[in-house]
């Protein structure tokens, strides 16, 4: 269990790793990685009951990343959790590496192949249904992009999640409001999104998806309502943490130049220094252990 400060520092470290491996691979989905990394950080470090030692345990919590293109964020967190050596991250998208450009079960710690959009929710629903069927208490977390909500399969899966009362299913939407070609509200408008999810039978909670403390608070409340699937509408900033990448469509899958990379690393260093200085002034706040 990490403290709030430790979570925030982790997020900075993860952001730096993501940018490093994307730059090295010359491929990756920078903007979405940075918008979703705080969610992954909180899930893997403080919320989910799963580790490399328990990954074969049928009672482990499951994670399915429906927005598979943001795999660099997932690989980064899994490496930090110890599923494989950090240096293997350097083989991302390289010839003969199993670290391919979208999640694959060939990589330790990954439950399900994803990458074509609109797939994760139905599979996560099946995993949650399996828990009900087998009388197990594990939970299933799935991370969706907002752009992929235009896929009808998500709404099919939502009908089923509600019908089968999957309150062990936690659907997190990385609501960064940008997709590859522009703003979600001009490409395939989603709003009123909160109301749509509620109408489909979810217990919906909105949260600042780039604030680890707020995310911790929300995840600690799962299940939000008995008998209802959980929907976390995580309002995020695409490209979060690097000024010139934030809220910029072009950083959807842009690879930083040497100069951009140096600037980004400098910004992350500054953020780390500022955080550490603040912490030493204010002292650390420790979060209650998740029951």
């Amino acid at each position: 269990m990490l403290t709030d400060l430790e979570l925030q520092l982790k997020s900075i470290e993860y952001r730096a790793t993501i940018l490093r491996i994307i730059k090295q691979a010359r491929a990756g989905h920078t903007g979405g990685d940075l918008s979703s990394i705080d969610i992954l950080n909180v899930l893997y470090n403080n919320v989910m009951q799963v580790s490399p030692a328990t990954f074969a345990d049928p009672n482990r919590d499951r994670y399915v990343q429906s927005k598979g293109h943001c795999v660099e964020a997932l690989y980064t967190v899994l490496a930090d959790q110890g599923y494989f050596p950090q240096e293997e991250l350097d083989t991302l998208c390289q010839y003969q590496s199993h670290f391919v450009g979208h999640p694959t079960r060939s990589v330790p710690g990954i439950e399900q192949n994803t990458g074509a959009l609109g797939h994760g929710l139905a599979v996560a629903g099946g995993m949650a249904l399996a828990a009900k069927l087998d009388g197990r208490s594990y939970r299933v977390f799935t991370l969706l992009g907002d752009g992929e909500l235009a896929e009808g399969s998500n709404w099919e899966a939502s009908l089923a999640a509600s019908h089968y009362r999957l309150d062990n299913l936690v659907v997190i939407v990385d609501r960064n409001r940008l997709q590859i070609s522009g703003n979600t509200e001009t490409v395939a408008p989603l709003e009123p999104l909160h109301e749509k999810f509620a109408a489909f039978g979810y217990a919906v909670r909105e949260v600042d998806g780039n604030d680890p403390a707020a995310l911790m608070d929300i995840f600690n409340r799962v299940p939000f309502e008995a008998g209802k699937p959980n929907l976390v509408l995580a309002n995020t900033v695409k490209g979060k943490g690097v000024s010139f990448m934030e809220n910029s469509v072009k950083w959807h899958h842009r690879v930083p130049t040497d100069e951009e990379y140096a600037t980004a690393m400098r910004e992350l260093d500054e953020a780390r220094a500022k955080l550490t200085a603040q912490a030493s002034e204010a002292g650390q706040r420790r979060y209650p252990v998740h029951a």
């Binding site: 049928p58 499951r62 399915v64 694959t104 079960r105 439950e111 399900q112 192949n113 994803t114 990458g115 074509a116 609109g118 797939h119 929710l121 139905a122 599979v123 996560a124 629903g125 099946g126 995993m127 949650a128 249904l129 399996a130 828990a131 069927l133 087998d134 299933v140 009808g152 399969s153 099919e156 899966a157 009908l159 089923a160 089968y164």
Partner: protein
Amino acid sequence: MQLGSKAGYAPATMPLRNVFGEALLDVATDNPRVVVLDGDLGNSTMAETVRKAYPERFFNLGIAESNLVGVGAGLAACGLIPWITSFSSFLLCNAYDQIRLAIALSNINAKVLGSHGGITLGKDGPTQMGIEDFALVGGLPTFTMLVPSDPVSMRALVKLATDHVGPVWLRSSRLPLPVIYDEESTFKIGQANIVRQGDDVAIIACGIMTAIALDAAADLAAEGIEARVIDLLSLRPLDVDTIVAAARDTGAVVTAEEHLLTGGMGSNVARVIAQHHPVPMRFVGLADTYTESADPADLLVKYHLTADDIAAAARDAVAAKRAQG
């Protein structure tokens, strides 16, 4: 229309889909990890046998094939053995992306029943007909593909599919099919069965075309042409040895399938024969066309899937062999 009657088989008593329903109930009874997923067509696929016996292991997910497949993959990932059931046309044409990614690419232990294969569902017409399943499942490299041809093989292949670890596609269809096999018959994934001996020509068939090929062989025998009839059963993996031996022993091969010729079973058999032992070949199947709604017997005649069509193709192949000397 009594398939297999010329070849001397007793008239069929039960539609193949009903046999599937009984076979599915058997595996669900034997194995408590089997669960059945239905796309609101359980009374057509006959998966509803399990709903009646084990309602807690039967999930009707409604008319939503993408979700049907995804949920099946999730259940399989957690150690259950899902049979995902619907018409093959709806599963493959609505949820191919899910079948490809959530099952095939993930190499998940899920079983898929594609019912109403071929054109012999008849009157509901081409939207419901599964005439492209061999081609589309052919595009899913990790899938085993099984096509039963009679009640005995249906029961055996449903059990083999359930016990196999990995993705399996199984075709069923609507017509009653005569009993070709007996209790001594053996079945294995990757094994084709020789259901009639002969050395003048080989007819390699699957599904309902096996019974029709046996009828054709009876006609050919009256003319002095002895056809070896091979029931392919396993479209992937293919029984390469049996196919090559047939080409070597007979020197002329006909394939017969209730499927589009383009991308069909015959083209895969031809690939094996072309590589290992090239001989004259002829292909019986659907030309590049959709059909109308009609009685199955009339459709088989119009679209050239009868015993007469297979016999004509066999004569042609034999003539080509003899012309080559």
